[in-house]
Symmetry: C2
Subunit: 370 residues, 2 copies
């Protein structure tokens, strides 16, 4: 059997209560220095470990933060989840990961909460759930958890929850980022700017895109939803789907609207697909068409034409999220926070030096290819 407080108490000739105090970081100051040292020495010698269940039962909560993450096979999603986990560790919190997938099928917020509470977390951090987790479900979940005494943080969801929801929330500023991307193209002289975005990117990409056009007094829009080209079947990786979607969507759009001279793509994968698609109809980047991506995946700067894109401030978001969590657990009871982290526009070469005139080459017939 494992060593218990009682065993240490007996050897040290003190009560269990004293040992409990001595071995608790926050209450060890109540114990006389000499006694403290003796107890610690004996605990070490015996190889003592707290029994987390007994501790949690007595205190009323466990010491662990559950990190609910949407683990798709998508590169960016994975990186973000890993970074947030690291940040929690850095903040001195013990964290375990619950893949959202395992909760998704449960359906109701009530059932999801029940499942989460099975591991009796001290707090729950939710990292950008799959897009089919609607905001209302998430909001309900926060309410239920809060009622059961568990604090929730929503990190990097595509929408911030309403102010009334009892949870902190932090996300990247997708709208501003999209606005900056399109503004960048407008400043380079482009007037007919295509948008290749999927439905789950609606909130950020499309709103920002429209906002930038509105600001510049441009009304015509060239939006190409790529959903029709994408199947998010779980056994197929997001990667190849997105590339293929961009490949087809870019060609469709340029064929339909040959006046388009620039593309803002919902992701870098879509962007490289679009580049291939453009090449397939005889258009080159950036001479004929300028391209902006989204995410700044690591290979973006290594492309034949390095990609101008929007960066993901993963470190900042993770660090801030962890700090909010830590503060709440330490007793911070200020009003619920709603924070947005700016996303940088990273200018490389895929937008060239600016639009210098009408496109030199007409859109060719697509070559047979995949």
């Amino acid at each position: 059997m494992n060593v218990r407080l009682k065993d240490i108490a007996r050897q040290a000739g003190v009560s269990e209560a004293t040992v409990s105090r001595a071995l608790s970081p926050s209450r060890s100051s109540m114990v006389r220095a000499e006694t403290l040292a003796r107890i610690r020495r004996i605990a070490d010698a015996l190889g003592y470990h707290h029994n987390p269940h007994a501790q949690a039962l007595a205190i009323g909560r466990s010491a662990v933060v559950s990190l609910v993450v949407a683990y798709t096979e998508d590169y960016m999603m994975n990186v973000k989840a890993l970074r947030l986990h690291s940040a929690l560790l850095d903040a001195g919190l013990q964290a375990q990961i619950i893949p959202a997938q395992s909760l998704q099928d449960l359906g109701s917020a009530e059932k999801i909460a029940a499942s989460l509470l099975l591991s009796a977390p001290m707090a729950v951090a939710i990292r950008s759930l799959a897009t089919n987790w609607h905001l209302e479900l998430l909001e309900d979940l926060c309410g239920i958890l809060w009622d059961r005494g568990v604090y929730t943080l929503i990190a990097d969801h595509h929408q911030l929850p309403s102010d009334a929801v009892p949870a902190d929330a932090i996300s990247t500023d997708r709208v501003r980022a999209a606005e900056a991307a399109v503004s960048h193209l407008l400043k380079l002289g482009h007037r007919c700017i295509g948008l290749l975005a999927s439905a789950d990117q609606t909130f950020g990409r499309i709103v920002g895109y429209r906002r930038a056009l509105d600001e510049h007094g441009i009304s015509e829009r060239y939006e190409q939803p790529i959903d029709q080209y994408v199947e998010y079947a779980p056994e197929r990786p997001y990667l190849s789907q997105a590339v293929q979607a961009g490949y087809l969507a870019a060609q469709d759009l340029l064929r339909r609207c040959p006046e388009v001279t620039a593309l803002f793509c919902g992701s870098d994968l879509v962007a490289i697909g679009a580049m291939r698609g453009l090449a397939n109809v005889g258009l080159s980047v950036p001479a004929d068409v300028a391209i902006v991506g989204f995410n700044d995946e690591p290979w973006c700067s290594h492309l034949p034409v390095p990609l101008t894109t929007i960066g993901q401030p993963v470190e900042q978001l993770s660090a801030r999220a962890a700090e909010m969590l830590r503060a709440r657990l330490a007793g911070d009871d200020s009003p619920w926070r709603r924070e947005l982290v700016p996303m940088p526009l990273i200018v490389r070469e895929s937008c060239g030096q600016g639009l210098v005139g009408p496109r030199r080459w007409p859109v060719q017939e697509a070559v047979e290819s995949s």
Copy 2:
């Protein structure tokens, strides 16, 4: 406060013990049907949930399986981890993920065990830890956990533990796979076969490579360790590193040994890098050089020259691992298992129809490029 057994007992007019039995899947048969129904109805009405800490304290262990996974940003690693998690759920087990990274820094097996036991898992499944977790560390860990009453399963580690280690283990048969890949090339007539592998792939790739050559009575070897080109700095993704490594290694090897007509690559990423590298010195695939990859990543079949490679039997391995775990928890006390899952050779076009003669083109000077 939450609903407790006591609350239900009072409303139902029975003792806590009866409620406890009624609400336990395995002991509910001890309760009279009528009483059972009444208790269940009341529990539902009150929204009762077991307190996992109290339960775990009373029973002596919790109901959750900790899944320790090496979460690198590598695609294959991520996929494998996700699949194993799903398989555990499918086997009716509640599983939480502990990123190995959070344990890695602890150093000693004793400390890692202590940290793992903090969440007092019912069992621990370890999925191919990072390569710097030496087998001995892993073996020690299993021993400590076992002594503390926790069963361990080692899934997909590159080496199986020794028979004495108190744990089950299942891995893919990397050695056989490498042997099959090289045999395939030998059968196609190749005699000078290069190997591009990194140190952490040593166990499988190199052993299998040598074994195939030995079987065919060929002694000369062309091994190119790619480690020198790869830096596994945690903030850089494995992806771009591996491609670049293959790019450089292939050129180096062909320059040094121009008689080489085939390459067996440690991963598909290395393989596509190698393809680019070969193109850079004027060699084409498969006409001049045949290539075999490893992993069968989803884009392999979409390359200009679809890649012949080794497939990862992720589903089989995950399902079998989950089944072993489930059986052990159900009381299976047969001898510790050591299982290997075969990996399929997937023949596409990167090895052509066979070697038809000496290479048509000499190796050119490398073009300036990256």
